[in-house]
Assembly symmetry: C2
Homo-oligomer: 487 residues x 2
């Protein structure tokens, strides 16, 4: 028998709505994390705890009396789901102000500390009445579901405090947490008041295992625990001793569902989008695919592309950057501004260089997944120049799906760089020259070398797919529980 | 015999000009570092190498044929001075673009990485033809002055590359470097391209000793050497092994010239400024004294003071913040903007609360040292809320000079906090509430507790003055040379 898993993440694997006839429908939850975790549903006896995101989610939660209920995944896998309907004001403080408005910025080094953050009464209220309260609600739900046979898998930056609430009530519980975004160094955590930065680290140290995508983020976390809450670190550099407990800090890179992307290559909608791209295809196609998030470094990307055209006039008229941007978090002012400035930048580059019906930047601002997959198939160069990124699955998806021996120009600060370094063209995300030169090197690399790198990267992703990541999580749990996991 | 010291810093202990009659005059060099280092002149056989800053400096350098010449300090101490007249374009790249425009921002965490820095061709040229070249010029001058009996003391962020040039030419030289600003964590150094961040760390590791004001910056440096250039760190955490050499990383907090400040208390100009302050003195006087540098956190300081008035209406009309701001680096756009925004912020607070002839903020933007000392004597609370600060001597000067049992509200990210924590009111520089509450606590603390803290802090500064810091440098050199230092 597999051990029962309680998966806890802010966004669940599905979300409810109504179709035009008024009938309730379950849709796949958005966000990369929910996609990745769906693999778990096929494998184990899972109870999933998540926030009610839509009105219909709230209705479903109310019908279930706040308890968990049986659900079915689209692949027929069955699981239990428990939706938490938070008070809207608490949720706004938790989600917009603290998680996305502060922790995300802090953990991607996006704050210009000269003027941001400016933590006033609103922020303190959002922390206390939002982030703490919602985390406590998650912890209460976990406690309601928890029996001796269950292991808890918390996910991401929304839930740093919940493990400590659970640990206080159930000292023997088996708790794990996976952090999907970068962990900054101890010094930068000083941007949060002592009470909060210490609560974050104490909360995570209430788990038995804390996972990251790379050793780099893992090591930063371990060092921050030492510096910020005085934890002891064993000689192995990964076992942290804190308040008479041992916590293992581990690195397991997440990946993509290889079978899903293999099937997508021949998906009808993808093929249609691919025909549209082919009909307008220039000699060289540079692609970028990103949520419109400041951490993705979209503006510097356009400037680097501009620099490429400036320094290599022979490429004008022959290369296009197809930028597929998925609007993200547009309720946050910084995100709205960022998208506006990115669009203006693309337009500026176009106005500077457009000639004879050729436009250097082909910008699409909408969520169109079939178009994304088609672009993955068709790129000569995929630009992934993230400022900081926990993993960046675009790099892996693109490397796997591409059909033209395309190369990835990859930020040294993306988690994926730790795995793909030898086959990509590395770039410093703050250095426009380096990015422009990287684009040029990738575009002009001899065909044989392009083929070698491209196929090696694709083979790597095939070997290290999402199942390997899910296995790694389950192995950690099996090791902790001392029981061998049924397969 | 004392060992001969070659002191190397961008700004020298004095600078030349012409008086109204056209006669050459030597003026004390500006900047905190030159002031601190002047103590050295009284102690040893010193040759000082510095950049020619003024036209008259260049004339003096030309007359000396670029070689060193004998000079005399204002206290009669004699030393040799060698002024380097750099090509203006190289110096601009070195000083404005790289040292003050990049390293200063990086080392104080001032960059909002979403949009800064943007390293284009200009920056690369400034690094190569400015920072590298000027550092090489400094190294050449050191080599020209260096004999077997001399020890070299490099200072600060302008000269990270020079030690490596010297070491390459003279493997047995005795080299030390003191860094007067914070050292950020390894992760944040990724804002510079690999070649540059690695050159910075390799350059410093070419010394025998690298000094910092606090263990916090020292530890960050050691960890960064491990992560960024693969140096080995011994179990003591302070001995770094790199390329078959051993480097000691040390922490020695700089301090003030206690005798000088003692004398200043009764200086005629100070007494006149003090009378002016007394004539307008409110019941409670809050003082801040800073260069107009974004790292000093002036804007958040005004907002925190605004919050104090908002939350404690009983203080309106009874408290004034006297802000003495010394205009700094106004050739850099970011500094010009910052001063403008800070002034606007002070005005906004005044417009919001001014009543019955009372204005909450009394802003002075000019360099007026006697006024500063007078304000030190008169404050009830000194606000030092720096974002990050290597040391911050204002906190020590104020604590030592004050005559009213005044308290310092001190940023947890100022180097001085490591020494003064138990007597100050600590504040997080990003947390407006915390700063406003800190001001309130300091203003309303019982008289006896204020007296206890204030006198303990002053006694600490008296015991740990600039001479103790100079001794620590000379002891390091004596230890290295295996010779006992003549006193």
């Amino acid at each position: 028998m597999a051990r029962r898993l309680i998966v806890v993440s802010n966004r669940g694997p599905l979300s409810y709505g109504r179709d035009p006839s008024g009938a309730r429908v379950a849709r796949r939850g958005g966000g990369g994390l929910a996609t990745a975790l769906r693999g778990l549903l096929r494998r184990d006896d899972v109870t999933w705890i998540a926030s009610a995101m839509t009105d219909e989610d709230r209705a479903v939660a109310a019908e279930a009396g706040g308890a968990s209920f049986a659900e079915e995944g689209r692949d027929g896998s069955s699981f239990r789901l428990r939706l938490l309907a938070h008070p809207p004001a608490a949720y706004a403080g938790f989600y917009d102000t603290v998680a996305n408005g502060a922790l995300w910025f802090l953990q991607h080094y996006l704050w210009g500390l000269a003027s941001e953050p400016e933590l006033g009464a609103d922020f303190h209220a959002a922390w206390r009445d939002g982030y703490e309260r919602v985390n406590e609600t998650f912890a209460d739900a976990v406690l309601a579901e928890l029996d001796d046979d269950a292991a808890v898998c918390f996910h991401d930056y929304h839930l740093y405090l919940a493990p400590a609430f659970v640990r206080a009530a159930r000292p023997g519980a088996l708790l794990t947490h996976f952090v999907h975004i970068p962990w900054p160094d101890a010094e930068y955590w000083h941007a949060l008041p002592e009470a909060y930065r210490s609560a974050v680290h104490r909360g995570l140290l209430a788990n038995d295992v804390v996972g990251f995508h790379t050793e780099r983020w893992r090591d930063n976390f371990v060092e921050a625990c030492r510096e910020l809450v005085g934890a002891d670190v064993a000689d192995d550099g990964t076992t942290v001793r804190f308040e008479d407990r041992e916590v293992r800090a581990v690195a397991h890179p997440i990946s993509i569902d290889v079978e899903e992307f293999e099937a997508l290559r021949d998906d009808a909608a993808v093929l249609e989008e691919e025909r549209a791209i082919l009909a307008r295809r220039p000699e060289y196609l540079v692609v970028r695919v990103d949520r419109t998030d400041p951490s993705k470094n979209i503006i510097r990307g356009f400037r680097a592309f501009e620099l490429l055209l400036e320094e290599h006039p022979e490429l004008r008229g022959r290369v296009v950057m197809l930028a597929l941007l998925d609007p993200s978090r547009q309720t946050l002012r910084a995100y709205e501004d960022y998208l506006e400035r990115a669009s203006a930048e693309a337009q500026r580059v176009n106005e500077r260089f457009a000639a004879d019906g050729w436009q250097p930047v082909d910008l699409h601002v909408r969520d169109n997944f079939p178009q994304t997959v088609a672009a993955y198939k068709q790129f000569d160069v995929l630009l992934v120049n993230a400022i900081y990124d926990g993993m960046n699955l675009v790099a892996k998806e693109g490397a796997f799906v591409n059909t033209r021996d395309g190369l990835v120009v990859l930020s040294e600060n993306a988690g994926a760089h730790a795995e793909l370094a030898e086959w990509v063209v590395s770039a410093n995300p703050f250095d426009l020259e380096d990015q422009a030169e990287g684009l040029y090197r990738a575009l002009t690399m001899p065909a044989e070398e392009r083929r070698r790198r491209s196929s090696a990267a694709a083979a790597y992703v095939r070997e290290h797919d999402i199942d390997a990541w899910v296995d790694a999580q389950l192995d950690e749990i099996a090791r902790l529980s001392g029981a061998s996991r049924a397969v």
